[in-house]
C-alpha cells in the first residue's frame, strides 16, 4: 500500500448512481476535483448534472456509489461534508425580505458559532460581491445579476474546501457572466476547488481547468478542454460533445 499522498483531491466521486422511478439519472459517475481546480460538468439539459451535484451536496441519497470531500463520505458522514462544502443551486434565490448584508450574516452564522469568524466571512463576501451600499437594501430590489453575485459571494465566504455551483452563469447577461467567471477564477487561484455545471459548453471552455462530458447520466470523458478538442479533432467543446455521444451510441 502506498502512503497517503500529500496532495489529496478535494472531491472524489466514486461510481455515483441515481435511479429515479423510471429514469437512470446518473450512472456510475466517476471523477475527482483537486484543490485550486475548476471542474465543470457539461452536458445538455436533463443530462444528470443537477442530480450528480445534489448527491455530492448530501441532498440526495445515491442509489449506489459515494462521493468523498476531503476524505469524508457524503453518504456516511454528511454532517462532516456539509462543513466543508457550499452549494449554490441553479436558479437559486435568497430570502427576499432580508437585506443583502443580513442574508450574509444569517448564512455565516449557520457555518460558525464564532462571532469573529462570522464577521470575517461577511467582510470577505462584501468585498467579493461588489454590491457596496446596495447591501443595505432588501434582496427583493436586486436584479438577477446582483443576487447571483451575492449568492456566489455567500458560497465562497466560508472558504469551503469545495464550492459547488450549479449553472452559475445561466440566465445572466454577458457582463455579469464575465464578472462571475473572474470571481471564480480569482478564488481558484487562491486554492479553492470548484465543481460547476453548465449546459453552455462554449462558455465553460474558458473558465474551467478540466471538464467532464455527461449525457443521459453517463460521464463519457474527462480532461482539459484543449486535450479533448485535440483528441477528437474538434474546434470546440460542442463538437467534442457531438462526437463523443455519437461514438458512444454506435458502440
Amino acid at each position: 500500500m502506498e502512503p497517503e499522498s500529500t496532495r489529496r483531491p478535494a472531491l472524489e466521486v466514486d461510481g455515483l448512481t441515481k435511479q429515479y422511478k423510471t429514469v437512470l439519472a446518473a450512472n456510475q459517475v466517476r471523477f475527482e476535483v483537486w484543490p485550486g481546480e475548476i471542474f465543470a460538468l457539461i452536458g445538455p439539459n436533463g443530462a444528470g448534472k443537477t442530480t450528480t451535484i445534489r448527491m455530492i451536496s448530501t441532498l440526495l441519497q445515491p442509489t449506489s456509489g459515494d462521493a468523498r470531500v476531503d476524505g469524508f463520505s457524503a453518504v456516511q458522514e454528511a454532517a462532516r461534508v456539509r462543513e466543508r462544502i457550499t452549494y449554490l443551486p441553479d436558479e437559486a434565490g435568497a430570502y427576499k425580505n432580508m437585506t443583502g448584508r443580513k442574508y450574509l450574516q444569517f448564512m455565516a452564522a449557520l457555518f460558525s458559532n464564532d462571532r469573529a469568524e462570522q464577521k470575517r466571512c461577511v467582510e470577505m463576501a462584501e468585498e467579493i460581491c461588489g454590491l457596496g451600499a446596495r447591501l443595505k437594501e432588501k434582496i427583493s430590489s436586486y436584479s438577477r445579476g446582483m443576487s447571483r453575485k451575492l449568492l456566489l459571494a455567500r458560497a465562497v465566504m466560508t472558504r469551503p474546501s469545495l464550492a459547488i455551483l450549479d449553472e452559475p452563469t445561466s440566465g445572466l447577461d454577458i457582463l455579469n457572466a464575465l464578472e462571475i467567471r473572474r470571481m471564480i477564477q480569482g478564488l481558484a487561484d487562491e486554492g479553492m476547488a470548484f465543481l460547476i455545471s453548465s449546459h453552455n459548453m462554449l462558455e465553460i471552455e474558458y473558465l474551467s481547468d478540466r471538464v467532464g462530458i455527461i449525457s443521459k447520466g453517463v460521464l463519457h470523458c474527462v480532461g482539459r478542454p484543449d486535450e479533448l478538442k485535440a483528441s477528437a479533432g474538434a474546434k470546440n467543446l460542442e463538437e467534442v460533445f457531438e462526437k463523443v455521444v455519437q461514438e458512444y451510441e454506435v458502440r
Binding site: 429515479y20 422511478k21 445534489r54 451536496s57 448530501t58 441532498l59 440526495l60 441519497q61 454532517a79 456539509r82 462543513e83 462544502i85 457550499t86 452549494y87 449554490l88 443551486p89 441553479d90 436558479e91 437559486a92 434565490g93 435568497a94 430570502y95 427576499k96 425580505n97 432580508m98 444569517f106 448564512m107 452564522a109 449557520l110 457555518f111 458559532n113
Partner: protein, 437 residues
Amino acid sequence: MKFVNLLKKELRELITLQTVLSLVISMVIFGLLGGTIGSLTDSINEKMGSVAVADLDQSEASAQLLEDIQSAGFEVVALDPEDSEPPVDQAEDYAHSSCLVIPKGFGTALEEGRPAPLEVSSKMAGFSIFSGMDQSASAAADAAVSILSSRLLQEGLTEGMDPVFAVQPLQITETTSANGQTAEISGQVIQSMGMQQGFFIPMVVFIMITFATQLNISAIANEKSDKTLETLLSAPVSRLSVLAAKMCASGLASLAMSAVYMIGLGSYMGGMMGSADLSGDAEAAQSVADAMQKLGLSMSAGQFFLLGVQLFLTILITLAVSMILGALAKDVKSSQGLIAPLMFAAMIPYMVTLFTDISSLPAAVQVLLYLVPFTHTYTASANLLFGNIGVFYLGLAYQAVLLAATLFLAVRIFSSDRIFTMTLQFSGKKKKAAREE
C-alpha cells in the same frame, strides 16, 4: 445559537405584508360569519311553534292559561302531571329542552288576587345553537302574562284589586338544570354565557389552525421555490433544528395573531350577546357566576389546564401536518391547493359543533368527525363542562397518538431526501398528466 439564528430568520420571513393582508381578509370573513350566527339565533328565537306544559294545578284558571297560550299561536304539548319524572325530562321526549310548569295553587292565587306562580324550567345539555336554544317556554310565559293582564284590564278592575296585580298577574321563576343540578336562573342567560365558551374557544382554535397551516406551508413552499431550502439543508445545521425553527415560528406567529383576534372577537361577541349582557351590573354578574358554578358550568383551574394541554396538542398536530403538506408543495402556487383539504378538515367539524350536538348524528358520521383531530378540540370545553370526561380523555389520547405519528413522519421527511424527491415526483406526475391530456 444556530437555532436562534434560524428562528429569528423564520419570524422575519413570516411577518410580511402578505400575512398581514391575509389576517385582515380572514378578519372580514369571521365578521360575516359572526353576523350569520347572530341572525340565525334570531330566527330560532322567532320560530317557536310548540311549548311543553305540565299543569300540576288542574284548575279552571290553569285550563284558561293553556287556552291563552294556544291563542297566542303556540301548540301546547301537555305533559303528564302525575309522572314522577320531572317535567323538563318529559319534555325532552318532545324535543324540548324547556317547559312551563303550572304549580299547585295557581288558580287559588289568581282568585285571591295575588300574582300566581309560573315556572319556566330549562335543561342545558350543550351550548350549540340547536341543542341549547329552546326558549319556547319563556316566550309562552311572556305571552301568557300579556294576555292575562290585558284581559284583567279590559274586564275592568274589580273592587279592591291591586293595580300592580293587573299588570303583572303572574310571578315567573326561571330555573335551569345541568349536570343534575338546578339553579334559579334563566336558560337564556346561561346560554349566552355558554356561547362564550362553546363558540368563542372553538372559533379562536379554528383561527389558530388556519393561521398556523397557512404560515407553515407557505414558509416551506417559499423556500422551495427560491431553492433556499436546498442551500439551508446543505449547510452544517441539524435538520431537526431547521424543522423545529419553522414550527416554532409558525406556532408563535399564529398564537400572536389569535391573541389579536381574541381581543377583537371578544368585543364582537359581547355585542352579539347584548340581550343578556350583564357586565354593567356587578351584582347580577356575580349571581350569574354563582349559578354557573352551582350548575358546574364554570371551568375549574384543572379543567382550564386540560383545555390548555389539548390546545397545545392541536397546534402541534397542525404544524406537523402542515410541515408534511409543505414538503409536498413545489412552490407557493401548488401549496394553496394543499392548504384546502386541511382547511376543510378544520372547518367542517367547526360548523357541525356550532350548530348541533355531535352525539345526535348518525354513528358513521360521528366516527368520521371524530377521526378529524380538530373535532376533539372544538368539543373539549363542552365535554369538560357537561361531564363527558371519558370522551374528552379519549380525544386527548387520540390526538397524542396522532401527534406522535405526524411528527415522526415530518422528521423522517426532513431528515431524508424525501423533502426533495416527494415534490419532484409529485410535480412529475402532474406534468405527465398534463401531457396526456
